[in-house]
Protein backbone atom coordinates (compact mmCIF):
# COMPACT_ATOMS: atom_id res chain seq x y z
CA UNK A 1 0.00 0.00 0.00
CA UNK A 2 1.25 3.52 -0.71
CA UNK A 3 1.13 6.48 1.68
CA UNK A 4 -2.15 7.90 0.32
CA UNK A 5 -3.87 4.53 0.62
CA UNK A 6 -2.58 4.07 4.15
CA UNK A 7 -3.72 7.52 5.22
CA UNK A 8 -7.19 7.01 3.76
CA UNK A 9 -7.53 3.56 5.30
CA UNK A 10 -6.68 5.06 8.64
CA UNK A 11 -9.22 7.87 8.18
CA UNK A 12 -12.13 5.67 7.15
CA UNK A 13 -11.52 2.43 8.98
CA UNK A 14 -8.98 3.17 11.74
CA UNK A 15 -6.79 0.63 9.98
CA UNK A 16 -3.03 0.87 9.88
CA UNK A 17 -2.39 -2.40 8.12
CA UNK A 18 -4.36 -5.27 6.67
CA UNK A 19 -7.02 -5.99 9.29
CA UNK A 20 -7.63 -9.07 11.41
CA UNK A 21 -10.70 -11.13 10.64
CA UNK A 22 -12.72 -10.89 7.44
CA UNK A 23 -12.16 -7.99 5.09
CA UNK A 24 -12.81 -6.71 1.61
CA UNK A 25 -10.76 -3.75 0.41
CA UNK A 26 -11.78 -2.13 -2.84
CA UNK A 27 -9.96 0.57 -4.75
CA UNK A 28 -11.18 2.28 -7.93
CA UNK A 29 -13.48 -0.64 -8.64
CA UNK A 30 -10.72 -3.22 -8.27
CA UNK A 31 -10.33 -5.74 -5.50
CA UNK A 32 -7.21 -5.03 -3.41
CA UNK A 33 -7.76 -7.79 -0.90
CA UNK A 34 -10.43 -10.12 0.39
CA UNK A 35 -10.52 -12.67 3.14
CA UNK A 36 -13.41 -14.71 4.43
CA UNK A 37 -13.14 -16.14 7.91
CA UNK A 38 -14.48 -19.32 9.43
CA UNK A 39 -17.79 -17.65 10.26
CA UNK A 40 -17.95 -14.80 7.79
CA UNK A 41 -18.19 -15.57 4.11
CA UNK A 42 -17.77 -12.92 1.41
CA UNK A 43 -19.23 -13.77 -2.02
CA UNK A 44 -18.97 -11.40 -5.00
CA UNK A 45 -22.26 -10.57 -6.68
CA UNK A 46 -22.72 -11.89 -10.20
CA UNK A 47 -25.42 -9.59 -11.53
CA UNK A 48 -23.98 -6.27 -10.30
CA UNK A 49 -21.04 -4.65 -8.55
CA UNK A 50 -20.77 -5.62 -4.91
CA UNK A 51 -20.62 -8.45 -2.42
CA UNK A 52 -22.86 -10.64 -0.28
CA UNK A 53 -21.65 -11.15 3.26
CA UNK A 54 -22.96 -14.16 5.14
CA UNK A 55 -22.37 -14.23 8.87
CA UNK A 56 -23.15 -17.62 10.42
CA UNK A 57 -25.68 -17.82 13.24
CA UNK A 58 -24.10 -17.57 16.68
CA UNK A 59 -20.93 -15.76 15.53
CA UNK A 60 -19.71 -13.68 18.48
CA UNK A 61 -17.11 -10.97 18.95
CA UNK A 62 -15.95 -10.96 15.36
CA UNK A 63 -15.38 -7.98 13.15
CA UNK A 64 -15.21 -7.32 9.46
CA UNK A 65 -13.86 -4.37 7.51
CA UNK A 66 -15.00 -3.28 4.07
CA UNK A 67 -13.25 -0.02 3.21
CA UNK A 68 -13.54 1.54 -0.24
CA UNK A 69 -10.92 3.88 -1.66
CA UNK A 70 -11.16 6.09 -4.72
CA UNK A 71 -7.98 7.66 -5.97
CA UNK A 72 -8.58 8.07 -9.69
CA UNK A 73 -10.04 11.48 -10.40
CA UNK A 74 -13.32 11.21 -12.26
CA UNK A 75 -14.03 7.61 -11.25
CA UNK A 76 -17.66 6.93 -10.35
CA UNK A 77 -19.29 3.74 -9.12
CA UNK A 78 -22.37 2.26 -7.51
CA UNK A 79 -21.75 -0.71 -5.23
CA UNK A 80 -24.28 -3.07 -3.64
CA UNK A 81 -23.27 -4.80 -0.42
CA UNK A 82 -25.74 -7.10 1.32
CA UNK A 83 -25.14 -8.29 4.88
CA UNK A 84 -26.93 -11.45 5.99
CA UNK A 85 -26.45 -11.62 9.76
CA UNK A 86 -27.52 -14.89 11.34
CA UNK A 87 -29.42 -15.38 14.58
CA UNK A 88 -27.71 -14.62 17.90
CA UNK A 89 -24.67 -13.03 16.31
CA UNK A 90 -22.70 -10.26 18.01
CA UNK A 91 -20.49 -8.59 15.40
CA UNK A 92 -18.80 -5.34 14.42
CA UNK A 93 -18.85 -4.18 10.81
CA UNK A 94 -16.67 -1.26 9.77
CA UNK A 95 -17.32 0.30 6.40
CA UNK A 96 -16.01 3.56 5.08
CA UNK A 97 -15.15 5.43 1.97
CA UNK A 98 -12.15 7.61 1.31
CA UNK A 99 -11.75 9.66 -1.83
CA UNK A 100 -8.46 11.21 -2.87
CA UNK A 101 -9.18 13.37 -5.85
CA UNK A 102 -6.34 15.45 -7.20
CA UNK A 103 -7.70 15.87 -10.70
CA UNK A 104 -10.39 17.77 -12.53
CA UNK A 105 -13.11 15.13 -12.73
CA UNK A 106 -15.74 14.48 -10.08
CA UNK A 107 -15.21 11.26 -8.10
CA UNK A 108 -18.30 9.55 -6.83
CA UNK A 109 -19.06 6.51 -4.71
CA UNK A 110 -22.63 5.43 -4.13
CA UNK A 111 -22.75 2.54 -1.67
CA UNK A 112 -25.99 0.71 -1.15
CA UNK A 113 -25.83 -1.40 1.98
CA UNK A 114 -28.63 -3.72 3.01
CA UNK A 115 -28.61 -5.37 6.42
CA UNK A 116 -30.72 -8.39 7.27
CA UNK A 117 -30.31 -8.70 11.03
CA UNK A 118 -31.46 -12.09 12.31
CA UNK A 119 -33.33 -12.89 15.51
CA UNK A 120 -31.61 -11.66 18.69
CA UNK A 121 -28.51 -10.72 16.72
CA UNK A 122 -26.48 -7.65 17.66
CA UNK A 123 -24.65 -5.58 15.09
CA UNK A 124 -22.53 -2.52 15.50
CA UNK A 125 -22.03 -0.80 12.17
CA UNK A 126 -19.51 2.01 11.81
CA UNK A 127 -19.29 4.08 8.65
CA UNK A 128 -16.88 6.92 8.04
CA UNK A 129 -16.56 9.21 5.07
CA UNK A 130 -13.51 11.18 4.22
CA UNK A 131 -12.39 13.14 1.20
CA UNK A 132 -9.22 14.96 0.22
CA UNK A 133 -7.38 16.17 -2.83
CA UNK A 134 -5.90 19.26 -4.33
CA UNK A 135 -7.68 19.33 -7.67
CA UNK A 136 -10.91 20.97 -8.70
CA UNK A 137 -12.77 17.70 -9.01
CA UNK A 138 -15.48 17.15 -6.46
CA UNK A 139 -15.79 14.27 -3.98
CA UNK A 140 -19.32 12.93 -3.97
CA UNK A 141 -20.83 10.18 -1.82
CA UNK A 142 -24.41 9.05 -1.65
CA UNK A 143 -24.75 6.20 0.81
CA UNK A 144 -27.98 4.28 1.13
CA UNK A 145 -28.53 1.97 4.07
CA UNK A 146 -31.48 -0.39 4.31
CA UNK A 147 -31.98 -2.21 7.58
CA UNK A 148 -34.37 -5.05 8.39
CA UNK A 149 -34.21 -6.18 12.01
CA UNK A 150 -35.95 -9.36 13.06
CA UNK A 151 -37.41 -10.14 16.46
CA UNK A 152 -35.17 -9.13 19.36
CA UNK A 153 -32.36 -7.97 17.09
CA UNK A 154 -30.35 -4.83 17.74
CA UNK A 155 -28.34 -2.59 15.49
CA UNK A 156 -26.17 0.37 16.43
CA UNK A 157 -25.13 2.49 13.51
CA UNK A 158 -22.50 5.20 13.79
CA UNK A 159 -21.84 7.43 10.84
CA UNK A 160 -19.26 10.15 10.63
CA UNK A 161 -18.39 12.59 7.90
CA UNK A 162 -15.93 15.13 9.15
CA UNK A 163 -13.91 16.32 6.20
CA UNK A 164 -13.58 16.76 2.50
CA UNK A 165 -16.82 15.43 1.03
CA UNK A 166 -18.33 18.03 -1.27
CA UNK A 167 -21.77 16.61 -1.58
CA UNK A 168 -23.56 13.83 0.15
CA UNK A 169 -27.11 12.58 0.09
CA UNK A 170 -27.56 9.92 2.74
CA UNK A 171 -30.64 7.76 2.85
CA UNK A 172 -31.35 5.31 5.63
CA UNK A 173 -34.44 3.15 5.86
CA UNK A 174 -35.14 0.74 8.67
CA UNK A 175 -37.92 -1.68 9.54
CA UNK A 176 -38.07 -3.23 12.99
CA UNK A 177 -39.90 -6.34 14.14
CA UNK A 178 -41.04 -7.26 17.66
CA UNK A 179 -38.62 -6.24 20.41
CA UNK A 180 -36.01 -5.04 17.91
CA UNK A 181 -34.01 -1.89 18.56
CA UNK A 182 -32.04 0.55 16.47
CA UNK A 183 -29.67 3.31 17.55
CA UNK A 184 -28.29 5.71 14.98
CA UNK A 185 -25.64 8.27 15.85
CA UNK A 186 -24.67 10.66 13.11
CA UNK A 187 -21.78 13.11 13.27
CA UNK A 188 -21.34 15.59 10.52
CA UNK A 189 -19.17 18.58 9.83
CA UNK A 190 -19.37 20.57 6.63
CA UNK A 191 -17.23 23.48 5.48
CA UNK A 192 -16.49 25.47 2.34
CA UNK A 193 -19.45 25.19 0.00
CA UNK A 194 -20.30 21.58 0.88
CA UNK A 195 -23.78 20.19 0.89
CA UNK A 196 -25.00 17.34 3.07
CA UNK A 197 -28.45 15.88 3.20
CA UNK A 198 -29.52 13.18 5.62
CA UNK A 199 -32.78 11.31 5.38
CA UNK A 200 -33.74 8.72 8.00
CA UNK A 201 -36.99 6.79 7.81
CA UNK A 202 -37.59 4.27 10.59
CA UNK A 203 -40.67 2.05 10.77
CA UNK A 204 -41.37 0.58 14.18
CA UNK A 205 -43.62 -2.28 13.12
CA UNK A 206 -43.19 -4.80 15.94
CA UNK A 207 -44.47 -4.65 19.49
CA UNK A 208 -41.92 -3.09 21.89
CA UNK A 209 -39.56 -2.10 19.13
CA UNK A 210 -37.51 1.04 19.71
CA UNK A 211 -35.42 3.53 17.80
CA UNK A 212 -33.16 6.39 18.82
CA UNK A 213 -31.86 8.59 16.00
CA UNK A 214 -29.39 11.23 17.13
CA UNK A 215 -27.56 13.66 14.89
CA UNK A 216 -24.92 16.17 15.89
CA UNK A 217 -23.57 18.47 13.26
CA UNK A 218 -21.47 21.55 12.70
CA UNK A 219 -21.93 23.70 9.59
CA UNK A 220 -19.15 26.17 8.77
CA UNK A 221 -18.39 28.68 6.00
CA UNK A 222 -21.01 28.60 3.23
CA UNK A 223 -22.01 24.98 3.64
CA UNK A 224 -25.57 23.71 3.71
CA UNK A 225 -27.11 20.84 5.68
CA UNK A 226 -30.55 19.32 5.57
CA UNK A 227 -31.57 16.81 8.24
CA UNK A 228 -34.75 14.88 7.72
CA UNK A 229 -35.86 12.17 10.08
CA UNK A 230 -39.16 10.35 10.15
CA UNK A 231 -40.08 7.76 12.78
CA UNK A 232 -43.29 5.84 12.23
CA UNK A 233 -44.78 4.04 15.22
CA UNK A 234 -47.08 1.30 13.97
CA UNK A 235 -47.31 -0.67 17.21
CA UNK A 236 -46.54 -0.35 20.92
CA UNK A 237 -43.08 1.18 20.61
CA UNK A 238 -40.66 3.91 21.64
CA UNK A 239 -39.12 6.31 19.17
CA UNK A 240 -36.87 9.31 19.73
CA UNK A 241 -35.17 11.53 17.18
CA UNK A 242 -32.88 14.40 17.95
CA UNK A 243 -30.93 16.84 15.82
CA UNK A 244 -28.50 19.23 17.44
CA UNK A 245 -26.58 21.56 15.16
CA UNK A 246 -24.00 24.30 15.59
CA UNK A 247 -24.12 26.88 12.86
CA UNK A 248 -21.21 29.19 12.01
CA UNK A 249 -20.25 31.83 9.44
CA UNK A 250 -22.69 31.90 6.50
CA UNK A 251 -23.81 28.29 6.71
CA UNK A 252 -27.39 27.11 6.67
CA UNK A 253 -28.99 24.15 8.45
CA UNK A 254 -32.51 22.78 8.11
CA UNK A 255 -33.79 20.24 10.63
CA UNK A 256 -37.04 18.53 9.76
CA UNK A 257 -37.97 15.89 12.31
CA UNK A 258 -41.23 14.06 11.75
CA UNK A 259 -43.04 11.49 13.86
CA UNK A 260 -46.12 9.54 12.87
CA UNK A 261 -48.05 7.35 15.30
CA UNK A 262 -50.43 4.73 13.96
CA UNK A 263 -50.99 3.04 17.32
CA UNK A 264 -52.26 4.49 20.60
CA UNK A 265 -49.39 2.77 22.37
CA UNK A 266 -46.71 4.36 20.27
CA UNK A 267 -44.57 6.80 22.24
CA UNK A 268 -42.63 9.13 19.95
CA UNK A 269 -40.54 12.21 20.66
CA UNK A 270 -38.66 14.58 18.40
CA UNK A 271 -36.22 17.31 19.31
CA UNK A 272 -34.30 19.70 17.12
CA UNK A 273 -32.03 22.59 18.00
CA UNK A 274 -29.84 24.82 15.85
CA UNK A 275 -27.70 27.59 17.26
CA UNK A 276 -24.33 29.22 17.28
CA UNK A 277 -21.70 28.39 19.89
CA UNK A 278 -22.85 29.90 23.18
CA UNK A 279 -20.86 33.04 24.02
CA UNK A 280 -20.47 31.97 27.64
CA UNK A 281 -18.82 28.70 26.55
CA UNK A 282 -16.23 30.68 24.58
CA UNK A 283 -15.66 33.04 27.51
CA UNK A 284 -15.23 30.18 29.98
CA UNK A 285 -12.49 28.62 27.86
CA UNK A 286 -10.90 32.03 27.25
CA UNK A 287 -10.66 32.56 31.03
CA UNK A 288 -8.56 29.37 31.00
CA UNK A 289 -6.12 31.08 28.62
CA UNK A 290 -7.39 29.78 25.26
CA UNK A 291 -7.77 32.16 22.33
CA UNK A 292 -11.23 32.54 20.85
CA UNK A 293 -10.28 30.29 17.94
CA UNK A 294 -8.81 27.60 20.19
CA UNK A 295 -11.94 27.76 22.36
CA UNK A 296 -14.11 27.30 19.28
CA UNK A 297 -12.09 24.26 18.19
CA UNK A 298 -12.37 22.65 21.63
CA UNK A 299 -16.14 23.20 21.74
CA UNK A 300 -16.65 21.68 18.27
CA UNK A 301 -14.30 18.79 18.99
CA UNK A 302 -16.22 17.98 22.17
CA UNK A 303 -19.58 18.38 20.47
CA UNK A 304 -18.67 15.90 17.73
CA UNK A 305 -16.85 13.46 19.99
Amino acid sequence: MDAIQKRMLEAVADLHEIPQGAYNIRQDGELVGRRSSEHIEIVPKKDKDGIDIYIKAGTKNESMHIPVLLSKSGYTETVYNDFHIGEDCDVLIVAGCGIHNSGEGDSKHDGIHTFYVGKNAKVRYVEKHYGEGDGNGKNLMNPTTIVEIEEGGRMEMETAQIKGVDSTDRKTEARLAKGASLVIREKLMTHGSQYAKTDFVVELNGEDSSANVVSRSVAKDNSKQVFYSHIKGNNRCNGHTECDAIIMDNASVSAIPEITAASVDASLIHEAAIGKIAGEQLIKLMTLGLSEKEAEEQIIQGFLK
Partner: protein
Protein backbone atom coordinates in the same frame (compact mmCIF):
# COMPACT_ATOMS: atom_id res chain seq x y z
CA UNK B 1 -0.66 42.75 42.74
CA UNK B 2 -3.95 44.08 41.32
CA UNK B 3 -4.91 47.71 41.40
CA UNK B 4 -8.10 49.39 40.25
CA UNK B 5 -7.83 53.14 39.65
CA UNK B 6 -11.03 55.16 39.29
CA UNK B 7 -12.76 52.27 37.57
CA UNK B 8 -16.27 52.96 36.30
CA UNK B 9 -18.57 50.80 34.22
CA UNK B 10 -21.71 52.10 32.55
CA UNK B 11 -24.38 50.40 30.48
CA UNK B 12 -26.92 51.93 28.14
CA UNK B 13 -30.52 51.46 29.20
CA UNK B 14 -33.81 52.67 27.74
CA UNK B 15 -33.76 55.63 30.08
CA UNK B 16 -30.14 56.59 29.47
CA UNK B 17 -26.85 55.36 30.85
CA UNK B 18 -26.65 53.60 34.17
CA UNK B 19 -23.50 53.45 36.24
CA UNK B 20 -23.01 49.94 37.55
CA UNK B 21 -19.62 50.72 39.03
CA UNK B 22 -18.62 54.19 40.11
CA UNK B 23 -15.08 55.32 40.59
CA UNK B 24 -13.74 52.22 42.29
CA UNK B 25 -10.27 52.49 43.79
CA UNK B 26 -8.92 49.30 45.26
CA UNK B 27 -5.54 47.68 45.80
CA UNK B 28 -5.31 43.95 46.32
CA UNK B 29 -2.03 42.56 47.58
CA UNK B 30 -1.17 38.95 48.37
CA UNK B 31 -3.65 37.18 50.57
CA UNK B 32 -7.33 36.53 50.85
CA UNK B 33 -9.74 39.35 50.05
CA UNK B 34 -13.50 38.98 50.35
CA UNK B 35 -16.02 41.22 48.63
CA UNK B 36 -19.46 41.39 50.14
CA UNK B 37 -22.53 43.59 49.92
CA UNK B 38 -26.15 43.48 48.84
CA UNK B 39 -27.41 41.78 45.69
CA UNK B 40 -27.26 44.02 42.66
CA UNK B 41 -24.58 46.17 44.26
CA UNK B 42 -21.99 45.56 41.54
CA UNK B 43 -19.86 42.74 42.99
CA UNK B 44 -20.14 40.33 40.06
CA UNK B 45 -19.71 43.18 37.60
CA UNK B 46 -16.49 44.13 39.35
CA UNK B 47 -15.25 40.54 38.98
CA UNK B 48 -16.09 40.57 35.26
CA UNK B 49 -14.32 43.89 34.79
CA UNK B 50 -11.19 42.48 36.45
CA UNK B 51 -11.28 39.33 34.30
CA UNK B 52 -11.89 41.34 31.10
CA UNK B 53 -15.40 40.13 30.23
CA UNK B 54 -16.73 43.69 30.62
CA UNK B 55 -14.63 46.61 29.36
CA UNK B 56 -14.25 49.52 31.75
CA UNK B 57 -15.96 52.77 30.75
CA UNK B 58 -13.19 54.74 32.40
CA UNK B 59 -10.33 54.13 34.78
CA UNK B 60 -7.36 51.81 34.81
CA UNK B 61 -6.55 48.27 35.92
CA UNK B 62 -2.98 47.36 36.81
CA UNK B 63 -1.75 43.82 37.32
CA UNK B 64 1.72 43.51 38.85
CA UNK B 65 2.31 47.11 37.79
CA UNK B 66 1.33 46.47 34.16
CA UNK B 67 -1.66 48.25 32.62
CA UNK B 68 -4.07 45.51 31.56
CA UNK B 69 -7.10 47.78 31.08
CA UNK B 70 -7.35 47.01 27.37
CA UNK B 71 -6.19 43.40 27.34
CA UNK B 72 -8.58 40.61 26.28
CA UNK B 73 -9.95 37.86 28.51
CA UNK B 74 -7.41 35.42 27.01
CA UNK B 75 -4.45 37.75 27.55
CA UNK B 76 -5.41 38.43 31.16
CA UNK B 77 -5.85 34.69 31.77
CA UNK B 78 -2.39 34.06 30.32
CA UNK B 79 -0.91 36.71 32.59
CA UNK B 80 -2.20 34.77 35.58
CA UNK B 81 -5.78 35.79 36.38
CA UNK B 82 -8.16 32.94 37.14
CA UNK B 83 -11.94 33.14 37.42
CA UNK B 84 -14.63 30.85 38.78
CA UNK B 85 -18.05 31.68 37.32
CA UNK B 86 -21.01 32.30 39.61
CA UNK B 87 -23.07 30.21 37.22
CA UNK B 88 -20.80 27.60 35.69
CA UNK B 89 -21.12 26.99 31.96
CA UNK B 90 -22.35 23.66 30.56
CA UNK B 91 -20.80 22.00 27.52
CA UNK B 92 -21.91 19.16 25.28
CA UNK B 93 -19.26 16.49 24.93
CA UNK B 94 -16.53 18.16 26.99
CA UNK B 95 -15.76 16.02 30.03
CA UNK B 96 -14.59 16.94 33.52
CA UNK B 97 -11.10 15.66 32.74
CA UNK B 98 -11.03 17.62 29.43
CA UNK B 99 -11.87 20.86 31.20
CA UNK B 100 -9.41 20.37 34.07
CA UNK B 101 -6.70 19.49 31.53
CA UNK B 102 -7.46 22.63 29.50
CA UNK B 103 -7.34 24.65 32.72
CA UNK B 104 -3.95 23.24 33.68
CA UNK B 105 -2.67 23.91 30.15
CA UNK B 106 -0.70 20.66 30.07
CA UNK B 107 -1.31 16.94 30.01
CA UNK B 108 -2.33 15.70 33.44
CA UNK B 109 -2.11 12.21 34.88
CA UNK B 110 -5.30 10.62 36.16
CA UNK B 111 -3.84 10.94 39.68
CA UNK B 112 -3.40 14.69 39.24
CA UNK B 113 -6.97 15.18 37.99
CA UNK B 114 -8.14 13.01 40.86
CA UNK B 115 -6.28 15.24 43.33
CA UNK B 116 -8.01 18.39 42.04
CA UNK B 117 -11.42 16.74 42.24
CA UNK B 118 -10.77 15.41 45.74
CA UNK B 119 -9.90 18.96 46.80
CA UNK B 120 -13.49 19.98 46.07
CA UNK B 121 -14.98 16.85 47.59
CA UNK B 122 -15.76 14.91 44.41
CA UNK B 123 -14.76 11.31 43.90
CA UNK B 124 -12.80 11.26 40.68
CA UNK B 125 -14.00 7.81 39.70
CA UNK B 126 -17.58 9.08 39.48
CA UNK B 127 -16.81 12.29 37.65
CA UNK B 128 -13.65 12.14 35.56
CA UNK B 129 -15.41 10.99 32.38
CA UNK B 130 -18.71 12.77 32.95
CA UNK B 131 -19.74 15.38 30.43
CA UNK B 132 -20.16 18.88 31.82
CA UNK B 133 -23.78 18.99 30.72
CA UNK B 134 -27.25 19.21 32.21
CA UNK B 135 -26.84 15.80 33.87
CA UNK B 136 -24.71 17.43 36.58
CA UNK B 137 -26.42 19.25 39.42
CA UNK B 138 -25.78 22.92 40.18
CA UNK B 139 -23.67 22.00 43.21
CA UNK B 140 -21.57 19.51 41.25
CA UNK B 141 -20.94 22.09 38.55
CA UNK B 142 -19.87 24.65 41.14
CA UNK B 143 -17.33 22.27 42.60
CA UNK B 144 -15.95 21.34 39.19
CA UNK B 145 -15.71 25.06 38.44
CA UNK B 146 -13.61 25.57 41.56
CA UNK B 147 -11.44 22.57 40.60
CA UNK B 148 -10.69 24.17 37.20
CA UNK B 149 -9.44 27.30 38.94
CA UNK B 150 -7.30 25.21 41.31
CA UNK B 151 -5.85 23.39 38.30
CA UNK B 152 -4.84 26.68 36.71
CA UNK B 153 -2.62 27.43 39.72
CA UNK B 154 -2.31 31.13 38.82
CA UNK B 155 -1.17 33.90 41.17
CA UNK B 156 -4.53 35.71 41.19
CA UNK B 157 -7.92 33.98 41.35
CA UNK B 158 -11.41 35.43 41.46
CA UNK B 159 -14.29 33.34 42.84
CA UNK B 160 -17.82 34.61 42.36
CA UNK B 161 -20.03 33.25 45.16
CA UNK B 162 -18.49 29.77 45.26
CA UNK B 163 -20.83 28.72 48.07
CA UNK B 164 -24.04 29.39 46.13
CA UNK B 165 -25.83 26.16 45.25
CA UNK B 166 -23.66 23.97 47.45
CA UNK B 167 -25.52 21.92 50.04
CA UNK B 168 -24.97 22.34 53.74
CA UNK B 169 -23.03 19.09 54.07
CA UNK B 170 -20.59 20.01 51.35
CA UNK B 171 -20.31 23.55 52.63
CA UNK B 172 -17.94 22.58 55.46
CA UNK B 173 -15.79 20.85 52.91
CA UNK B 174 -15.74 23.93 50.75
CA UNK B 175 -14.75 26.15 53.65
CA UNK B 176 -11.82 23.85 54.32
CA UNK B 177 -10.85 24.10 50.61
CA UNK B 178 -10.62 27.86 50.99
CA UNK B 179 -8.93 27.62 54.38
CA UNK B 180 -6.31 25.39 52.83
CA UNK B 181 -5.93 27.75 49.90
CA UNK B 182 -5.50 30.60 52.34
CA UNK B 183 -2.66 28.79 54.09
CA UNK B 184 -0.91 27.31 51.08
CA UNK B 185 -1.72 29.56 48.17
CA UNK B 186 1.07 31.83 47.10
CA UNK B 187 -0.72 34.74 45.59
CA UNK B 188 -4.06 36.37 46.08
CA UNK B 189 -7.63 35.25 46.12
CA UNK B 190 -10.55 37.56 45.56
CA UNK B 191 -13.76 35.95 46.67
CA UNK B 192 -17.27 37.32 46.41
CA UNK B 193 -19.32 35.90 49.23
CA UNK B 194 -22.13 36.46 51.69
CA UNK B 195 -21.00 33.72 54.01
CA UNK B 196 -19.80 34.73 57.43
CA UNK B 197 -17.46 31.75 57.59
CA UNK B 198 -15.78 32.77 54.35
CA UNK B 199 -15.60 36.41 55.45
CA UNK B 200 -14.05 35.13 58.65
CA UNK B 201 -10.99 33.70 56.93
CA UNK B 202 -10.44 36.82 54.81
CA UNK B 203 -7.42 39.01 55.45
CA UNK B 204 -9.35 41.95 54.10
CA UNK B 205 -13.04 42.60 53.51
CA UNK B 206 -14.39 44.97 50.88
CA UNK B 207 -18.00 46.13 51.02
CA UNK B 208 -19.60 47.20 47.75
CA UNK B 209 -23.11 48.62 47.44
CA UNK B 210 -24.84 50.73 44.82
CA UNK B 211 -21.82 50.43 42.57
CA UNK B 212 -19.59 52.12 45.10
CA UNK B 213 -16.86 50.94 47.35
CA UNK B 214 -18.30 51.50 50.82
CA UNK B 215 -15.69 50.14 53.17
CA UNK B 216 -12.39 48.31 53.15
CA UNK B 217 -10.86 46.86 56.25
CA UNK B 218 -9.86 43.83 58.26
CA UNK B 219 -12.56 41.48 59.44
CA UNK B 220 -12.23 42.96 62.92
CA UNK B 221 -13.10 46.34 61.49
CA UNK B 222 -15.88 45.29 59.10
CA UNK B 223 -17.60 42.20 60.48
CA UNK B 224 -19.03 43.67 63.70
CA UNK B 225 -20.87 46.31 61.70
CA UNK B 226 -22.18 43.78 59.20
CA UNK B 227 -23.24 41.22 61.77
CA UNK B 228 -24.23 43.21 64.84
CA UNK B 229 -27.94 42.68 64.26
CA UNK B 230 -29.69 39.44 63.38
CA UNK B 231 -27.52 39.08 60.30
CA UNK B 232 -30.32 38.60 57.81
CA UNK B 233 -29.96 39.96 54.33
CA UNK B 234 -32.44 42.75 54.95
CA UNK B 235 -30.68 44.11 57.97
CA UNK B 236 -27.39 43.75 56.16
CA UNK B 237 -28.80 45.70 53.29
CA UNK B 238 -30.23 48.40 55.56
CA UNK B 239 -26.93 48.73 57.36
CA UNK B 240 -24.98 49.22 54.21
CA UNK B 241 -27.27 51.49 52.32
CA UNK B 242 -28.20 53.86 55.17
Amino acid sequence: MLELKNVSYEVDTETGTKEILQDINLKIEDGFVAITGPNGGGKSTLAKVIVGIYPVTSGQILFNGEDITHLSVTERAQKGIGYAFQQPVRFKGITVSDLITLAAGRKLSVAEICAYLSEVGLCARDYINREINASLSGGELKRIEIATVLARAVPFSVFDEPEAGIDLWSFNNLISVFEKMHDQYKGSILIISHQERILNIADKIVVIANGKLQKVGTKEEILPDLLCSSGTCKTLLDKITT
